[in-house]
């Protein structure tokens, strides 16, 4: 299943809830304000870094760029994808769960 998270992890528990319910092997895509969760060195970074061993975590490149977050500031193991990658993830998974 593909999970998308669009809220900042500092403002909403949606990333934490998503990580708690996503099965091993799931894809998790951070979009919109959700991309702030991909930042290294934050109080929530450990939570996501630990999850990357069981799930694949992606962040949407155009949303990172809009917010001034360069790839070298992200938690290692997070893959940056474009809109085309978003479409590929949506097609590769049988279901999409949006944690709005």
């Amino acid at each position: 299943m593909l999970h998308t998270v669009n809220k900042s992890s500092f403002e909403s528990a949606s990333l934490k809830i998503c990580l708690g319910l996503a099965k091993s092997g799931s894809d998790i895509l951070l979009i919109e304000d959700g991309v702030y969760g991909a930042l290294a060195g934050t109080i929530h970074a450990t939570m996501l870094a630990e999850a990357t061993s069981a799930v694949s975590v992606y962040a949407l490149g155009p949303d990172l760029k809009a917010r001034g977050l360069p790839e070298d500031r992200l938690i290692s193991g997070i893959k940056v994808v474009g809109y085309d990658g978003f479409v590929e993830l949506a097609c590769a998974n049988d279901k999409v769960q949006s944690w709005l």
Binding site: F10, E11, E32, D33, Y36, I43, P62, K65, A66, R67
Partner: protein, 135 residues
Amino acid sequence: MSETKKFMYINRRPPYGTVYPLEGLEVVLIGAAFEQDVCMAFISDGVFQLKQGQDTIESGMKNFSPTYRALGDYEVTRIYVERESLEERGLTEADLMPLTWEDEDDDWAEKPSIQIVSRTQLSDLLEEQDVVFNF
């Protein structure tokens, strides 16, 4: 002439997920015409509004971050950023876009507008205000 009041605009949301930051910035710029004693505070995810290097071309949104640089010309010269909020987000002052104002009492010397303050200092500043707006 009415008495000058102390205004604080508190910004605590990230820049693009909602329209609050852009609308808030416009209110500050419009409100500057009323010649009050104005300051801005960036706390929580609001600190992301001042992040350097915002580039919205691929996402197709309006990049309003250069507008913050106009604040100095509107005599908004005190911009407080909470240190704890930066630290929680893995940011430092170097991540913020430089904002300045020109001091007419000091031969138009260019001075920094951003002041990094602790949560305790910000708490004291908040208490001093006559009017507080939240965006």
